[in-house]
Subunit: 209 residues, 2 copies
């Protein structure tokens, strides 16, 4: 591992921390240089432009999410077990990601949703992949007989994303300590609504369209 690669990785790590608290627009080259102990120009040379730096940071954020949340659950059996573990991992990530601030991907998603360009493409791709992961996870649960046949897995992913955002809102912005309870209960409601009728733990029948 050459020097340049190592430095670049260190820069991206620090950039992620900075971005998690101050957002993509708060990620400034001068500040980042100061925190990494590099000169502005020395740091700049690693990326060529501000935008390329931002793209790299967004990619690093995705890689970090994959490492911390996605990868660990791939060892678990497909279907409900994996999905449940992913949910719990995601809630943990949202509440206390490995940065001082909140999830950079969520923040960037709302920051960039009205500004077309490479940055929005990058974060939109990340969100699409995340939803696809959830959708496939739900589909596996259907295939395994955990979830009822005919479940709309795209809607399932949509709802789960909503819970995640509501969590950030509750836990981070409002700072309510019972936020995680609401997350878990909302998630439980959603899972219960997707279960196969034979496994329906709460005795309710589920809506099939």
């Amino acid at each position: 591992m050459s020097k340049g690669v190592r430095t670049r990785a260190a820069i991206l790590g620090e950039a992620l921390s900075l971005m998690s608290t101050d957002g993509l627009s708060g990620l400034t080259i001068g500040l980042l240089a100061e925190r990494t102990g590099l000169s502005k120009s020395g740091l700049f040379a690693h990326f060529g432009s501000k935008e390329q730096l931002q793209v790299a940071v967004l990619q690093e954020a995705q890689a970090c999410f994959t490492t911390h949340v996605i990868r660990p659950v791939l060892d678990l059996p497909r279907g409900l077990p994996r999905l449940e573990a992913f949910a719990e991992g995601w809630w943990a990530w949202n509440r206390s990601p490995p940065f001082p601030g909140g999830c950079p991907i969520q923040a960037a998603s709302l920051e960039l949703d009205d500004r077309p360009g490479p940055l929005r493409d990058e974060i939109a791709g990340a969100q699409r992949r995340l939803r696809a992961f959830i959708r496939q996870g739900a589909a596996m649960a259907v295939a395994a007989g955990h979830f009822r046949p005919g479940l709309d897995c795209t809607l399932f992913a949509f709802q789960m994303v909503g819970i995640a955002f509501a969590q950030t809102m509750t836990c981070r912005l409002l700072g309510e300590p019972e936020g995680l309870d609401f997350v878990r209960r909302a998630w439980r409601v959603q899972v219960d609504g997707a279960l196969g009728t034979s496994q329906n733990q709460t005795g309710e029948m589920n809506h099939v369209e």
Copy 2:
């Protein structure tokens, strides 16, 4: 209405538009002065500091939301009718608010959630009031017999906020035209899960904790 007040209102209107696309941190005094046709110093004098301008913009955003979404539904009968109308109004607001960009309140919520100070207090208050409004709306539906007794109205509000964020994500960032369908269906699932059993339109029984 004196001149100063009129100008201030015009500034805030333009500021809201600018903020909806570029975020709170993109709301710069120079740019805002240019768009309103004022000089930087002339504009600045209306607020005294950048932070006070930002606070004023956040308050203006709340007022605008109240006018467009909250106020109209207060004429409707309490309970489910009002709640349904509010939902539809909110989805419409999220998809195409009276600004070029997306909902400034949602954007600011994620932008400020890690930066304590007057700005975060302001937006946190807005979110708390919004949730209280939803919670009370659900409580009225319970009182009116539309929703089942024992419904957790706080959880209900939590879930609804989640749907709204997921909508912004889907409709704005990803630009999926069918986004509104998912919003309505997720909302329908939530409402169905809250209905009194006698009115349950989908034939499912509901989970009561």
